[in-house]
Point group: C2
Chain length 202, copies 2
Amino acid sequence: MKVSKKKVAENRDALVQAAGRLFRERGIDGVGIAEICQQAGLTHGALYAQFPSKEALAAEALAGGLIRSHARMTAPIEGREPTLTDSLDYYLSSQHRDNLGGGCAMAASASEIARQGKAVSAPFTDGFAKQVGVIERTLSGSATDRREQALTIVAAMIGGIAAARATAKANPALSDDILVAVRRVLGELGAAAKPAATRGPR
Amino acid sequence: MKVSKKKVAENRDALVQAAGRLFRERGIDGVGIAEICQQAGLTHGALYAQFPSKEALAAEALAGGLIRSHARMTAPIEGREPTLTDSLDYYLSSQHRDNLGGGCAMAASASEIARQGKAVSAPFTDGFAKQVGVIERTLSGSATDRREQALTIVAAMIGGIAAARATAKANPALSDDILVAVRRVLGELGAAAKPAATRGPR
DNA sequence: TGTACATCAGTGAACGCGCGTTCACTGATGTAC
DNA sequence: TGTACATCAGTGAACGCGCGTTCACTGATGTAC
């Protein structure tokens, strides 16, 4: 049966949402078309009316997860611009660590994206660059220093949450230590770049 | 035909080596039993004389890759102990970025390991903790500071190489920038912890 | 040391299974008049 | 506005395929005498 244009858009969105969550939780190869469509309230054949292949869905689903994650990190907190500390506290929290499906697609799929084609890696690269820009703006110092620090901070955020997730099952205490340590050391790194007045531990 | 004990050990080793390289290159789900056995010079049925399942092979293969990578980072350079700068230069090089199969299993499979069972995640956790210990010994300052800095440095190394790999296809210049930036900022972080005499840029 | 035989790593055909994808069909939607 | 009909998102059975795993068999190795 044909469905209304509104319903078509809703169904497409449901597919992208379900795919994004499941891909982040279990990897692209770890989830089948059938389960994605089922969670979107459709049968498996419906996917091909919207996407040419699973890979195309993966590209859009992961890109969507990046945009959402980026939006969350740049959203104003109590009316003001988020600081580096705000970003670190959100990103390197045990909640984010334990919420693979709803979290940042860069962290959830970093090592997988390196093996995918350009359709998947291009949005990731854009998302990474944008995130570096956001962190850069919270820093002070020369343009070169700020950029280098921002690149390192974003890399450490991704590595930190990935390492915390990978160690969570076998050594929860170490996993927690990673989150605390990365948050504190990166916070100090950002603070160190600022005038002496704003310096000091978090 | 029965084979000699020596040959059995060689075959087992060949399986672990081939599996490790292929899993790092294309992920556990991205490689089949047939290809692994073929690259080890065996037929696919041979695997089950040595391992109960693909998962058991994956656990041993990834653990082997960690041990090898760890050994490379702790090996003396020109007779002396490797410094933080030595470790960073090796780990965050474009050679390491472009050598997925021969590189560090933590970086190649970080986000995948978080989804695997304990058999795979336990060796990863041990490898991570050991690596933190190695970095810790190159730092100075209070025990707490050293540990927090070492945890952050290892997380940033993993995140840095993972991000460099994920961005390499879509934006090679950004990928190079990540490696240079993380190397320099982490190097300065380590140097900053030392007495003033040894301070300064790399 | 030499001979007879039990062992078992490795072979390769075969297995069931779930995957991604296709396709003839359905029927409510949206359009042409 | 009301009616007739073309459209096409979604259905669900079916497809081929490659996967991980099993198993009867092989034959050189290693052991018992």
